[in-house]
Amino acid sequence: MGGRVRLIAAVVAVLLLGGCGVRSGAAESESGWRTEVDQTLGTAVSSLGTTMLLLENQADGHLTGNYVVVAVRDTLRTLNTEAQAFESLQPPASEAAANRRAVEALGRAVTALNAASTAASAGDRRAGRDALRDVRRAYAALQDLRDRLTEAAR
């Protein structure tokens, strides 16, 4: 029986240790938040950049419609997952303002990608051009925000 008790104890210990790793409701530490914001903005920049390339090249007739539809949907999905995870974080009090700015910028990025996805699905050229303009703007804004936050960290 001793072996079984020990086994159960070991399993419980592992579960407890594992449970400690699960994210709790407490606020992130400052450095933890910075890592998160850097990664999330990086993903957003990547998604917007990809969509930019997709729309530009579609306008030049380089890419097939079906491919662009799926590819834009992929970038939207990637960004959505990442943005949702970020928005559920509780930032440290000192970074509340920066966090708000990041969340707003992410919201604009998601909107721009949504518009791009809709335009690609509908095959609407004019909507595509408008979406491309918005995506470019969001891309530049996010790059800028990311640089400033990295700068502030130094």
Binding site: V45, S46, T50, L53, Y67, T78
Partner: protein, 409 residues
Amino acid sequence: MKRLLALALGILTAIGGFVDIGDMVVNAQVGARFDLSLGLVVAVGVLGICVFAEMSGRVAVCSKRATFDLVRERLGPRVGLLNLVASLIVTALTFVAEIGGVALALALVSSVNDLLIIPLVGLLVWLVLWRAKFSLMENVLGLLGLALVVFAVALWKLGPDWSELGHQLATADKPADETWTTYAYYSVALFGAAMTPYEVFFFSSGGVEEGWTEKDLGTMRANVFVGFPLGGLLSLAIAGCASVALGPLAIDVASLSQVALPVGIALGKIGLAVALLGFVAATFGAACETGLSTGYALAQYFGFQWGKYVRPGEATRFHVVLVVATFLAVGVLMTGVDPILVTEASVVGSAVALPLTYFPILVVANDIDYMGAHRNGLLANFLGTIYLVLVFVAAVAAIPLLVITGMGA
């Protein structure tokens, strides 16, 4: 003339069959983030798989025993079982990733949601495993996989600074905005992507399937030493394309569509279509290989009849395993798990599981009892020992690096 044709066919299928979803995804990711600064690792990995595959192919020719037979003979039933479980997990993960990859590639062609395509792909894979002749399956899919050469053309068309690329290839340096731990993590991932255990199970079992004799040793070596490195060049071309087209915009590769994007940019719709064809063929081919490999590993551990060289009715358990494996893989994919994530896990898992398969083959390749006159020479043992050390280092480092870097984030 006929022999020459057979030789050419073998080499071409080796090139086309070399690249699978792990190579495509990891190389594109690394290319976009690190440019070609990890190119040396790809070269080391490709040479490694050459050394390993040549040894296990030679063992298969001389002893008529495939890799997992020898794993159990040399490691015994307990450690052999541990290896079986580890290898099966990795191979099954790769199988899942490949089927998912086929579906993703078909989704890019048709814009139908990949969840709707997955069951169809599963059914097709199983039909091929059940019905198609071994050589037909290997040759057709391998030749179609050659479509990936379009990445090399695209790279040339994108017109990178070749001297800069060459410099990155030759030196082991990293871009300033990456840390050495992520560099090490991606080194292990690339190494694992190049040296997956299933490739060896499949290669050696394939030798038995096709009834290689000592006369075929030359052909086998040509396939390995010409075909695999050229396949490795395709991997590098994928990395180069991602580096030139996606790197400057700070794009991280997180989906298969992004891997194909540089080809579309460089070569337009036709190039894109060829690349997608290559994706489908390469992933479908690898799906068949990994599916068979799960059956090979199990059958060779427990000793029941395996292989497509006998009628399905003579290897019923083997075919039951294939059905179950395909069913499980489709089931896992239908949960909506991202095949790209599965791919990343499988290449790191490969690096962990490799030593237990590599070591017994190295020993048996020296054993005069099995090998007779064809046992390892000085060069094979020299390279074999270097890789034995490398393989162990990569296996030990893989999990800690995965945890520290958070899967390379």
